[in-house]
């Protein structure tokens, strides 16, 4: 039977051909005549033109930086192989000339070969091939590690957890994993958007910074004890709601407790629960994981919340949502109802943990950044005698730190980076609680320095904040870092300049901090190394970033947003040379890649949200590294608008 002939096919061919060659006069005449009376073909013509436009608009693909290194190494091997082959070729040729094999020898070799083949064929069925799925790469075993994800979407908020124990090899590092996720509903305000999350080392608690309209909430979600409800993430099924507020695992729900930040230098001991400030019903009203709102009605500030090395304490900084005062550093321990402030100066920014002590960044009245380390148990505070990196992130081994150096904008209550870049510092040599450190108390932070010349016009921008230049030294072991509290007057200068010895970072320093001079209070002998030597801190300043170290301190993940507050930025994962302790920027474990805010580092892995074709909110990616090489995984993330991973 003959099929129907598409009368328009030949015209579509002409339309397509017209884009690549000149049509003949007859073809052109025929086509134009047809187009006049055929709307469908006219549409096809438009489609072809649009298609060409779209093709030309496809994003440029930039080869990875290590491509030449890899190719060159392969070529070297090929060259060596070629020379070897030539050498053997000559020997064989000489051999052939000197000794032609006899017919008897050839026959013997043939008989041996045939016999061997028969033996192999008979034995072959006994050899069972390794089980494998055709087309699927053999997975790499990696050390199992818990991964939690907070998923926020309209009307549905849940925590997902899974164990990552297998990944795909380097040949297919982005294959889709089949890991099942344990879904546990969690009652958080439905209008909340996630900021940062941090899973405690034990995996028992998940700290969450949630953004609500006009304010932030810091909460701790008590994680499910085990993966007892494995579900397909796409099924939407999870823990079923129980009418009396009892979780699937039998835990009774605790209500959401609320706490407002102190508005007037309230000390930890004085902190009081001011009652619920949220319109959301308490967690006890619905089934789900226990949520403890440890601080509400605030704006988060400084670095993302983080757990101490032993997991016994969470630290972060925040300020009142009405910006009536600047930020303080808060801590929370399991068992506490609410977070407690450990600073009262309203000018303290949580930077990171240094072991089980807290690194705090501040700006003094002369506009200089200085860091202190506070022991949260004794509140003993010691100054860091080193270049004033803003918000240094220290690794667990307390050997290295990555922080920001440049000009800060201090016109508002919150200090904000204006122009600068990230630098690596040898933290081991400046850790005031480290081995060999002198018991040095935190100094008066408002001591004038030669370079501290606040601009008069800007100094008046924050009336009422009088610099206190005669603040007494901070006594060691003091429960209250009182002298620092007066350094809110740091905002008297509009531009704070972090200090750096120009010789240590010639390029970045010169452009990032043109007004920087040596500060006698800082140890300029401590070298700083630019994390991105190619970055021009003036043209392309780093303004919003996140740094996380792996728990062994040998790998660091750095995420940089293009502008402050961007959802998307670029993530790179870099290794640290264990001998030189230098960050190797030229051979990244993960080359700079697009990633959503909020990535997480594990022992030998990183998790991030990457752009996805099928989900506008992105998809979860995991990259691992180790003795077996690079591995990776794509996880079918839960269908939530906002997913933040945490190892």
């Amino acid at each position: 039977m003959r099929g129907r002939v598409d009368q328009h096919a030949k015209f579509r061919e002409l339309l397509a051909a017209r884009l690549d060659r000149s049509l003949t006069r007859i073809e052109l005449r025929t086509l134009n005549a047809h187009l006049k009376k055929c709307l469908a073909c006219e549409r096809v013509d438009a489609d072809y033109r649009a298609q060409r436009f779209l093709l030309h608009g496809l994003p440029t693909r930039i080869p990875p930086r290590d491509l030449w290194a890899r190719t060159s190494a392969s070529l070297d091997r090929e060259v060596a192989r070629a020379y070897r082959a030539r050498k053997w070729g000559r020997r064989l040729a000489r051999g052939r000339r000197s000794a032609q094999p006899s017919t008897a020898l050839m026959t013997a070799v043939a008989i041996i070969g045939v016999t061997a083949a028969i033996v192999v064929l008979q034995l072959a069925p006994a050899v069972t091939p390794l089980a494998g799925v055709p087309g699927q790469p053999t997975p790499l075993e990696v050390q199992p590690q818990s991964l939690a994800m907070l998923g926020l979407g309209p009307g549905d908020t849940a925590v997902y957890s899974t164990q990552v124990s297998q990944v795909c090899p380097a040949s297919a590092p982005d294959c889709v994993g089949s890991e099942k996720l344990v879904r546990s509903p969690v009652h958080l305000p439905t209008t909340m958007r996630s900021g940062n999350v941090a899973l405690s080392p034990s995996g028992d608690q998940l700290a969450v910074v949630g953004h609500l309209p006009g304010q932030d909430m810091i909460a701790v979600v008590m994680m499910p004890p085990d993966a007892n409800n494995v579900v397909d993430p796409n099924s939407g099924a999870g823990h079923s709601a129980h009418p009396d507020g009892v979780q699937n695992d039998g835990q009774t729900q605790a209500p959401v407790k609320t706490h407002q930040p102190d508005q007037s230098a309230q000390t930890a001991a004085q902190a009081t629960d001011l009652g619920s400030g949220t319109s959301e019903p308490p967690a006890s009203a619905v089934a789900g994981l226990t949520v403890l709102a440890i601080l509400e009605n605030v704006q988060s500030a400084g670095a993302a919340p983080a757990w101490s090395l032993n997991g016994g304490m969470l630290a972060f900084s925040a300020m009142p949502d009405d910006a009536s005062s600047g930020p303080d550093v808060y801590v929370w321990s399991p068992g506490d109802d609410k977070a407690q402030a450990i600073t009262t100066d309203h000018a303290s920014y949580f930077a990171s943990w240094s072991g089980n002590r807290i690194v705090v960044s501040r700006v003094n009245s002369s506009g200089r950044v200085h860091n202190s380390v506070i022991d949260p148990r004794t509140l003993e505070e010691r100054a860091v005698n080193a270049p004033g990196l803003w918000l240094p992130t220290v690794n667990d081994q307390r050997t290295e730190a990555i922080g920001w150096l440049g000009q800060l904008d201090t016109t508002g209550v919150l200090v904000a980076p204006r122009q600068g870049a990230l630098f690596v510092m040898d933290w081991g040599s400046v850790d005031p609680f480290g081995a060999g450190a002198s018991d040095q108390p935190a100094p008066a932070t408002d001591a004038p320095t030669p370079a501290a010349t606040p601009q008069a016009s800007q100094a008046t921008a924050t009336p009422g904040l009088t610099p206190s230049l005669s603040a007494p030294p901070q006594p060691r072991g003091s429960a209250s870092p009182a002298p620092i509290s007066t350094s809110q007057s740091a905002t008297a200068t509009a531009t704070a300049t972090a200090q750096l010895s120009p010789s240590s970072t010639p390029t970045a320093t010169a452009s990032a901090t043109p007004t920087a001079t040596d500060d006698s209070s800082n140890d300029s002998s401590v070298p700083l190394v630019a994390l991105e030597p190619d970055r021009d801190p003036v043209e392309a300043p780093v303004l919003d970033w996140q740094v996380h170290w792996s728990s062994d301190g040998l790998v660091v993940g750095v995420w940089i947003a293009d502008s402050t507050g961007s959802t998307w930025g670029r993530l790179a994962v870099l290794s640290v040379d264990p001998v030189t302790e230098q960050v190797a920027t030229d051979s990244p474990l993960l080359a700079m890649t697009l990633a959503k805010r909020g990535f997480s580092m594990g022992l030998d892995r990183v998790a991030w949200i990457a752009p996805s074709d099928t989900n506008v909110d992105g998809e979860l990616r995991i990259r691992t590294w180790g003795s077996d090489g690079i591995g990776g995984l794509r996880l079918i993330a839960p269908d939530q608008e906002d997913v933040v991973p945490a190892f």
Binding site: R12, E13, A16, D20, R21, V44, D47, Y48, Q51, L54, L55, H56, G57, L58, P59, T60, R61, I62, P63, P64, R65, L67, W68, T71, S74, L75, E78, V79, R81, A82, Y83, R86, G135, G153, P154, G155, D156, A170, S171, P173, D174, T190, S279, A561, D562, S566, W568, G569, R570, A591, M592, T593, L594, A595, A610, P611, S612, D613, T614, R634
Partner: protein, 207 residues
């Protein structure tokens, strides 16, 4: 085309020549492979393989002025071999290195979404047609060079191109329809949740 065991007779000259080829063409070869396979990591591996194969096949290159098309031919065959070997169509988004690009990460993500339909559609059309389209539209190949790179006659190359345009038109229409359905589902879900939340809040106020 050279096999895995082909050995060039003059390794030093071959190496030097391939280095020059790499300097001039590696970015476009990588780009071509990344678009063919839609997998950046795999594209990097195959780019490396392409230049290694070019080294092995150095003796077969008769006219050095046509080295570009020759290189594309090797790259194209390498890509087709890989597709045949793995029999996969992987929908992996581009997350390649983005340094040096002037646009912001947000812009890049947006552009990714816009071009996602087209890239998925490209993967749906037969690989030979995809090769022809990419080489013609994005790598500025016409006439003999295109035929050389595809390893076919001039007429056959033109036919592949014409068929490729029509295949892509149909595939793109299908992808767009799919995306529209998914988007409308998402919008409905979001709107439903909002209404539900508003009702809950109203009920809460009444209580």
């Amino acid at each position: 085309m050279p096999g895995a065991n082909a050995v060039t007779t003059d390794p030093a000259s071959a190496r030097s020549f391939v280095e020059r080829l790499y300097a001039s063409h590696h970015a476009e070869i990588y780009s071509y492979l990344a678009r063919m396979l839609r997998d950046d990591e795999l594209a990097a591996d195959l780019t490396q393989e392409t230049f290694v194969k070019a080294f092995r096949a150095f003796d077969t290159l008769e006219d050095h002025n046509r080295a570009r098309a020759w290189l594309y031919k090797i790259a194209g065959r390498t890509a087709l071999d890989e597709l045949r070997r793995r029999k996969i169509v992987r929908f992996v988004p581009w997350t390649g290195e983005s340094r040096g690009s002037a646009s912001s990460a947000e812009d890049q993500v947006l552009r990714l979404r816009l071009s996602a339909d087209l890239e998925r559609a490209l993967l749906r059309i037969p690989p030979r047609q995809r090769q022809a389209l990419l080489l013609s539209e994005l790598h500025d190949m016409t006439g003999l060079e295109l035929a050389d790179a595809l390893g076919v006659s001039h007429v056959a190359a033109r036919a592949l191109l014409t068929r490729g345009r029509e295949s892509l038109r149909q595939a793109l229409a299908a992808e767009r329809a799919k995306s529209a359905i998914e988007e409308s589902k998402r919008v409905r879900a979001t709107a439903g949740a909002r209404i539900e939340r508003r009702d809950d809040e109203r009920r809460g106020r009444i209580d």
